[in-house]
Symmetry: C2
Subunit: 483 residues, 2 copies
Amino acid sequence: MPTSNNNPAPPAHMSPDDFRRHGHAVIDYLADYMQRVEQLPVLSRAQPGDIRAALPPHPPTTGEPFEQIFADIDTLIMPGITHWQSPNFFGFFPANSSGPAILGDLLSTGFGIQGMLWATSPACTELETHVLDWLADMLALPQQFKSTSTGGGVIQDTASSSALCALLAARERATGLTSNDTGIDGTFTCYTSNQAHSSIEKAVAIAGIGRNNLRLIETDTSFAMNSEALHRAVEDDIAAGHTPCFVSATLGTTSSAGIDPLHAIGDICKAHNIWLHVDAAMFGTAALCPEFRAMHDGLEFADSYCFNPHKWMLTNFDCDCFYVADRAALIRTLSVLPEYLRNAATESGAVFDYRDWHIPLGRRFRALKLWFVIRHYGITGLQQHVRYHVALAQQFSQWVRDHDDFELLVDPLFTLVCFRHKAGDTFNEQLLHALNATGKLYLTHTKLRDQYTLRMSIGATHTKLRHVQAAWKLICDTADATA
Amino acid sequence: MPTSNNNPAPPAHMSPDDFRRHGHAVIDYLADYMQRVEQLPVLSRAQPGDIRAALPPHPPTTGEPFEQIFADIDTLIMPGITHWQSPNFFGFFPANSSGPAILGDLLSTGFGIQGMLWATSPACTELETHVLDWLADMLALPQQFKSTSTGGGVIQDTASSSALCALLAARERATGLTSNDTGIDGTFTCYTSNQAHSSIEKAVAIAGIGRNNLRLIETDTSFAMNSEALHRAVEDDIAAGHTPCFVSATLGTTSSAGIDPLHAIGDICKAHNIWLHVDAAMFGTAALCPEFRAMHDGLEFADSYCFNPHKWMLTNFDCDCFYVADRAALIRTLSVLPEYLRNAATESGAVFDYRDWHIPLGRRFRALKLWFVIRHYGITGLQQHVRYHVALAQQFSQWVRDHDDFELLVDPLFTLVCFRHKAGDTFNEQLLHALNATGKLYLTHTKLRDQYTLRMSIGATHTKLRHVQAAWKLICDTADATA
């Protein structure tokens, strides 16, 4: 093919000096945003199509000045933002951000490296391995999850991807290392509680095992998996000719923060050689504090574990830490080595190539932000963060208990308070919409015991006592006005 | 569980003023990095374990000053960086960065929003849909890939994930929408060329189809898939009782930039109702220029298409644009809707919830960086970028042709030049190691026709004629010294 230009020249890139100038402006904008986010309506008021309708139908033919592009953030984008970093954000689970995380991530973006292989930037791989070993100790995880033992950790985008990778390794082990080559024949069964995250169902579908072969095990009154019911389901499946291959236990379910009993589940998995994955996406962070580690009792039985610093450990999305006890099993499952990726370091066997630990090939240098966060706060600072939010949730729960019109659905262990007004489902749904329409806070809901339930999820980086106090007052006042 | 602290208080967060100060310092550091990266050794000289050995064995108990953390970037991290943004980086494929992309991504990081649902930040979804429609027009993709028709685009992390999502939708369609529920039974077959990316093999394994059911179709002298051979393989599989379900065609293979003949392949897929995925990860960007769009002839037969602005379109990793012609098929495959994600906008059907378009649930606001890039450069600026690098590669190829000791393995269409010294495999391998050891450039290799081949991959953002000239001189001088 011909080139159409006889005197080609590069386009007008942003010069380092212009980058410096515009970069300072963006930093200033974000510093201001941190200060004013508390005053903004938490939930975006945009209606479907509003944001798009304000955008030009065609891309510009020639480049535009940065000032003009940047100015459109306020006019075109800001109206469509739901402010996850508002201290009044109590929806879903938090997506923590912090100054050190933002700046660590900025360095990663600026370096623009791609860490698919050890050789494509050794620091990207080795810092990640090292910091994940630090974190294993900080959470008091069993030694087998450390890279200095038989396992190791890797940063994934989300707990959904970690669950999928764990399931694939489980499938490969259960099929005697044949599923990757010959596919599977539908006789495998998987288990998780009926409160577990939807990502488990998604993973079972993706892996070709089929959602019909996922058993949703019943839970007890605190929404924890009933291990007796798990035991019966496994035995029934074996009797029916199935091969149980994967159990996902949850430490902190999305709906209600249920904590599955790892020790009892682990006994069953060990007896039947079933891969045990532990999804501690939200509440793994609590294990930074020794007084909250009881949930890890039995973790020595687990084959894999994940938790998300991007939820409640002050590290910007995306940052899910995924650990395996037997890294060889994971690598064997996900490794493909074409000629164009061969290199001396890989052949030596002395390095990790993290592309073999997850689905994508390319990868960002995500360990930088995590390293910055751990060093900025230190172990005690992170513990203080956890304890403060747990104390706020305990305080909120007590207010609910003490109020005649409201009730708790379950006693909260950590920072998720599931509660409802006693006036019934319709009232609670109206209450939620009325609250969110004020813009002063954002709550989401779930159903527990078939009842519409409000979720007060405390955990945004800058949520303090006064925000929780104001939220409770608004909830009570709005309920009174709605009644 | 009790809280262990009777007077809890939040930890010491970085204040907005400190963020402003440290943020300016990081921006300045990156502006300086842009200027000095050209002088740094391209390939990191770290040996396995070097970086880790310099890190403290334990995380800090208390927080450290930001200045101290930041200073360690130079001492501990920089020695382990391979400089993908050096204009002397000619390895693998490029991972383009640019000022507007870095600043757009910084805003995304600073906002800290999570775009899993339309409702969790409408701008995150609507800007992405809109910009991907812009790009569809900029590449002159068939109309069915636009959101205003039956399809639409979504940003994925990598082409590996896009291929997996395409395969899953293909599998679900081919099984009459049963594979998600009941799993699969091993009778499905998939096809790609023997030059295709390893991610296709990985996807086929993940999806439970089995690598033995992936047919690697032979290629012609320009390393393009032989469509006759594809036709025979499909017919043979049907005769043997298999169900062909997925073909992945490549526009720009990793080893040699081979361009598969879409029209001939599309005819076969259409005749047999096989999902056609087109992986244009590297060279889709070339279609910004009308004179390079011949490779898209036949794209109207495709069910899905992806290309990576994070390779050669000046948008920082990660940014893979994935398009489907029938979005309902993709959403049906990947959607799971638990109660805690239900919301009015989703129920209305008037919005996209991008969590149903990929594997993870959570997602960053990646459209911002892409929007900034398109607006900063404009269509003509991006075209200029493409034409300039193609011209550099044509120039380099001519030097190879004109040299008695070197030969081209294939005439390059775009920016990847596959060449070798005529002195044989061992000589070329030694030459490559000698070149990379200089630190003055970084090249990688592949094997073509069983011959050790050097890959000169031009495309780093700031690569100019003088860098390519210097590279060629160094290659010739080093070859002379090695001989």
